[in-house]
């Protein structure tokens, strides 16, 4: 088997206040996979995501990204490899123009001039919003901001794209268009979501995190078809939806 893009072993974490969020999480994601990370509120999904690029440091266990351990001396390279798209685009887009925002990541990696501009155009084109480069983020629609947020991370040419609730607050048309874009990207994806139909649509494999541990890992359709598993971990498909 090849080196996994993401290799999480026995990660446990307690917040400084004493609340323990993760109790030994194991997770492997291989190149080209699209994996959904499911689980009820408070399961520890966000806490786990923040471990993937070294924002949080595990109390026990390890995180390895394409063979590179997440540690202080590798932080910049790890943050290039793991691109996290946060849920609220207003948090992700903090520069005065779309162009500056998409350039922020690659510029931190040392790119300048024409090379930097190429990255910006490439990333915006990949999500279909190349024409928005000179706009201000607060003048964009929510769906456009979500796409630009993904571009800001794509510009760093990550090995894995980690999306926190990519479909939240999108109208059905934007939600469908985003699915098309995600499918068209040639990148490994880990998608944190409560939107189970979206997981079925985009991810062959799902991992269920509940109370700080991985309780299921397998084909999305099989997991979502398991009524007992679903009920035990407060997962529900929308009314009228069947697999």
């Amino acid at each position: 088997m090849s080196v996994p893009v993401l290799d999480v072993r026995g990660v446990a974490y307690a917040y400084p206040g004493g609340h323990q969020a993760l109790y030994g999480v194991d997770l492997h994601v291989h190149r080209g996979e699209r994996v959904a990370l499911l689980g009820p509120n408070g399961a520890g999904k966000t806490t786990l995501v923040l471990h993937l690029n070294g924002i949080l440091v595990p109390g026990a266990g390890s995180v390895v990204v394409s063979g590179l351990p997440v540690s202080d001396e590798n932080l910049l390279e790890v943050r290039r490899r793991v691109g996290i798209v946060f849920q609220d685009p207003d948090d992700q887009l903090f520069m005065p123009s779309v162009r500056d925002d998409v350039a922020f990541g690659p510029a931190n990696l040392g790119l300048r001039g024409a090379e930097l501009e190429d990255r910006v155009v490439e990333a915006l084109t990949a999500v279909g919003v190349a024409d928005l480069a000179d706009r201000a983020p607060h003048h964009l629609s929510f769906g456009q901001r979500r796409r630009v947020a993904i571009a800001t991370v794509l510009a760093m040419r990550p090995e894995i794209l980690v999306l926190d609730e990519p479909s939240s607050n999108l109208d059905p048309a934007s939600r469908r268009e985003l699915a098309g874009i995600l499918r068209s990207l040639d990148v490994t994806v880990l998608m944190v979501t409560h939107d189970l139909p979206y997981a079925v649509e985009l991810c062959e494999r799902s991992v269920v995190l509940s109370e700080g541990t991985v309780v299921a890992d397998g084909p999305t359709r099989a997991l979502l078809g398991d009524a007992r598993l679903m009920a035990r971990h407060r997962l529900e498909l929308p009314v009228g939806f069947s697999i």
Binding site: I55, R79, R80, D91, P96, A103, L109, T152
Partner: protein, 253 residues
Amino acid sequence: MGSGPGAHLHVEGTTLLHRMSPHTKLVGLLAFVVLVVSVPRDATVALLALLLLAVAVLLSARVPARSVLPRLAVELPFLLFALLLPFVAVGPRVALGPLTVSQPGVEAAGALVLKGTAGVVAAVAFSVTTRPRDLVRALQHLRVPDPLVVIASFMVRYVDVVTDQLRRMRVARASRGFRATSVRSWPVLAAGTGALFIRSYERGERVHLAMVSRGWSGRMPVTAPLAAAPREWAVALVPAALAAAVSVGVRLG
């Protein structure tokens, strides 16, 4: 969205003032303002000429009056103060119609109005022709300390987000029958302000997370460097040079 105060400052255009590099414009503006202030206050004609120069520069931007006039209102408190000066200042009194006013007070008020208006008009000419993003780039280029540049940049970006949040909170209050009618509603307003502060603070933490996740290490990268030819600098400094000439000329003559 896009309805906050930041949205209306800049007015699109293609005039020389719009096309000039933001950092040359900014330096030109600052130099002009400082030099206007340096003109002796009794040189009324010279100050009037410099005010007309500022007005001419503003007119050259060809921005509609309705988007310029409201901005000039920032000067009103100074004008009010200038109006009071002749009455409160000491020194020899002169008759002005039925009133007697202080002679130095009148002179000081005149100079204050002329200098202040020239400065405000020049600043408005700058702000209507410069995108907020370019202002941030200019500050960065001129080696303004990074924290100040970042604060300015975030203000530009988030003023609308915070204004919008404030508006939603106001709607939510009003929807539950709240009306600010007396002192007794102040605690509610104070609590709202506090909530807005905490939300903004929490947003700051999330923005910081997003920055760190994209490799931020404490310095803002210069993604679009600025450059200006000597000729551009020369053009930008013309008003300042005229102000300098006037200031020196008045002192010598």
